[in-house]
Amino acid sequence: MMDRRRFLKLAASAPIAGLAPALAAANLAFGAAPAGADYRRLLILIELKGGNDGLNTLVPFADPAYYALRPKLAIARDSVIQLSDAVGLHPALEALLPLWRARELAVLQGVGYPEPNLSHFRSIEIWDTASGSHQYLQDGWLTRTFALAPTPADFAADGVIVGSPDLGPLSGGGTRAIALANTEQFLRQARFATGEGQTRNKALQHILKVEADIVQAAARLKSDYAFKASFPQGAFGNAIRTACQVVANRPGVAVVRVTQTGYDTHSGQAPTQARLLGELAAGVVALKNALGEVKRWDDTLVLTYAEFGRRPKENLSNGTDHGTASAHFVLGGRVAGGLYGEQPSLERLSGDGNTGYSIDFRSVYATALDRWWNVPSTGPLGGRFTPLPLLKT
C-alpha cells in the first residue's frame, strides 16, 4: 500500500506542474488500495471546548455520592430527563429527547484515557493526535487516517474545520484540511491562493500544495444552499449552518469539525452550562433537520469530544475544575441509540479527586474508522482499540 505522503515524495523527484493534478493521479492510482474505504459516509465532530462537565450532562441522579459532592451544582433529581434507573440528561438537553426516542442518540459514559493530563492544551493534543498520555505525536488521528486511506480526489477537501484556527485532528502534514469561519469569508480570502508553480524545494512544495488545496476547496464549496431548516441564532448555530453549507456540496468532504466554546466553567457554572447545552441541543437538531433535507442524515455520524470532563467535587466558586473522563454523544441515522460504558464511580476518586474512565476515547475513534468508514483503525491509532457496537447492523 502506498500512502499519499510517500507518493508526494516520489512526485517530488520529478518537477510537476501544479500539485492538484498530481494528487488526483495519486488518488486514482492508489486511493482504492485500502479496499472499501467509504468516505461517502460523513463524520461530524463537535468539540466542546474548555472541557464540558460530563457529570451535569449525564446526571447520575440515583447516586447519593453525586449529591454529596455537589451541594450547590447538582441537578435536582426531578428535573433530570431520565434515560435509565441511574442516569439522565441535563434539562437543557430536552431537544435531544426525540432523537433518543428514535434511538438515533447514543450516550457514552466515562470516556477518557489512562494517566489523564489536566492541562487544556496537552489534553486536547492527546485527543487530537490519539496519543498516549506521555506520547507526543505531530499528526492528528484523521491526518494519519487519510494518509493511509486517501479520500477520493474529487472531494472538495479531506475535511473542513469550522470556526477554529487550529486543525485539531487534521493537524500535521499531508491532509487536505481547510479551516474556515464561514464559507463566504473563505471564498473571499481564497483569492490569495494560487497554487501555481513547480519546484523541487520540499518546503515550497508544501506551501503550493496547501494553496492548491485552498483553490480546490474554493472551487467546490458554495455558500448559498437554501435550506428550509432553520438554524439557531448565535455562534454555534452559525457554525452548524456553515457545516451544513459545506456538506450540501457534492462531492463534499469526509469530515467536518465544529467547535463550541465556553465550557471551562471554573465559576458560576450552572447558568453557563445550561445555556451552552441548550445551544448544543438546538444546533444538533438543526443539523439533523438540514442533513435530512439533503438526504444525508442516514450517512452522517456525529461525535462530541472535549479535552476532559470536570472534577466531581464542586469548587468554592460555584464551578468545577479540570477533571478527567466525561460523557459524550454519538448521533446519526444509523446509530444504535442507548447507553454505553459505565458511569465512573464517585466513591473511588484519584488523589486529585477525579474519576477513572470506562471507555478509551480511541475506541470511539476505532468505531468511526473500522465500522463507519471501513478503514482499519490499527494503523492510524497506532494500536488495537476495540470498536463499540454503536452502529445499526
Binding site: 484556527p165 500535521g172 455562534a235
Partner: protein, 511 residues
Amino acid sequence: MRALSSFATIAVVLSLAAPRADAAIAGALDYDGARLLLNRTGFGATQAEIEHYVGMSREQAAKALLATSRTAAVTSPPPAMIATGPLQYPRRGAGASDEEIKMFRQQQVREGLDLRGWWVGEMLSTPSPLTERMTLFWHNHFVSSQQKVKLTELMYRQNVTLRAQALGNFGAMLHAVARDPAMIIYLDSAQNRKGAPNENFARELMELFTLGEGNYGESDVKEAARAFTGWSLDRERGEFVFRRALHDYGPKTVLGRTGNFDGDDVIDILLAQPSTAEFVSRKLWREFVSPDPDAAEVKRIAARFRDSGYDIKTALYALLTSDAFYARENRGTLVKSPVDLVVGTLHQFGMHPGDTIPFAVAAAGMGQVLFAPPNVRGWPGQETWINSSRLLARKQFLDRLMRAEGGATGMLQSVPGNTMTASDRTPWPAPDETDQARRARSMRAVDSGIRSVQFDSVAWFAQWKAPADAQKRNDDAVRLLFAVAPQTPPQASEPLAMLRELVLDAAYELK
C-alpha cells in the same frame, strides 16, 4: 506560461538554474551569500545591511556578526516588569475572592500582551538581531508558557536569563534555567519532593534540553528527579530557593555514575555526554541551515561545541562558516516562522510601527504566541507553520500591509467601529468568547497596527538610485526579498502593487 522573459531574468539573477556547489562563494560573500547569512541569523535584512557584508570572507562575516552579540536588551521593558517588591497574586487557597482572581487574570493578560509587544519592538530595534534570534531559539528550547506560569514578570525574567547567555555558555544557561522561577512552575519542580518526586523537569531535561530521546533510561529520569528535589520557588519574591527539608540526600545513579548528587551534579553529568552537544547542534542546524541535518557535519560541529566547554559562539561560528550553510541546495529550504514573517517584513521595508503589540497579535494569529509555545516541545516549526488557515492569515496580513501606503488606507478606515480597544489585543480568547469574535477582535488589532505604519514604496525603491523602470524595480526587489525565485512574476508595474504581488508569492514564505 506567461511573462516568460521576466521569469528568465529572475532565474538568472538568482542563479537558480540548478543546485550546484558554488566555488565563487568560498572566497568572499557575494550579494546572495550576504543576504542568506543575514536573513538566517536576523530578521529580514535590508539592502544596506546586505551591502555591508558583501565582500567579506565567510570567517570575517561570521566574526563580525558574532561580535555584535549582546547580553541585554536595548529597549526598556514594560514598567510593570521591573517593579520592585514582592509579587502580588491572589490565591484561592489563601482566601482570595473570585473577583480578585478574575482581575488578576485580566491584568496578567494585559501585561503579557505588553511583554509580547515589547519583544517584537526589541527585535525590530536591536543592533544585534542575532541576539534576539538566539533568545527566541532558546525560548523554543527551554520552553515555558505563560498559559501555565501565569505571572508575566516571571516570563520576562526568564527572557532576560535566556538573553544573557543566548550567545554565551550553554552549560551556564542550563544551570540557570534549572533555577529559573518560570521553569520551576512550568515543569512542576516546586512539587518535586523527597519521597514524592515529580519527574516532569528531570524527564524534559534529558529528553528535550540535553540528551534527546533514546539516550537515557527511565531509571535515569527517576534518579535525576531525586537529585532535583527541594529545588523550589519563594513565591513571595518569585525567586529560586533550595528547600533542604525536601531534598533527597541519598545516593543516586545517573547514566552509570553514582553519588550523592544534587541537581547541579546531574546537569554536569548530562553536559559530559557527547549526545548533548550533538542534540543541540542538530537543533541549531535546523534553525540556521536546513531541515535535514548532515550527520557527519553535526558531529564535527558538536565536537567543537563540547571541546569549547559549550561556548555557543564557537558552535555558531562552525555552523556559519560551513560549506553546508552556504550550499545552494539549502537556500530557501526554511519556512519563515510567523515572527520571521512579521518582524522581517517590517524591518526589510523600513516600516516603523507606532505600536508593536498589533504585530505580536498578528504573529499569534499565524500560530506563534510569544511566551506561550503550544507545549513543552515548543513550536515544531517548518512546514507546520503552513496550513490553510495559517497561510491565508499570513497572506492577508501581507496584503493589508502592502495596501497601507502613507498610513491612510481608505479601505480599512471605512470600516465602522474599526478602532482597537484594550481587549482587542488579547492573544487568547476570553472565557465565553466565540472564535469568530476573537478573530474579528484580533483583525481590528492588526489593522490598527498596520495603519500606524508609514510606508512609501516609491521612496523604498529609490534606495537603488537607478532609473525606475518596472523591470529594474522587479529585479532589485526580487534579489533582496527572495531566497528562491518567485513562482509567478508580478504583473503590476506600479511600485506598491508590484510589492504586494511579490510578498503574496508562495516563495516569499521561505528564507
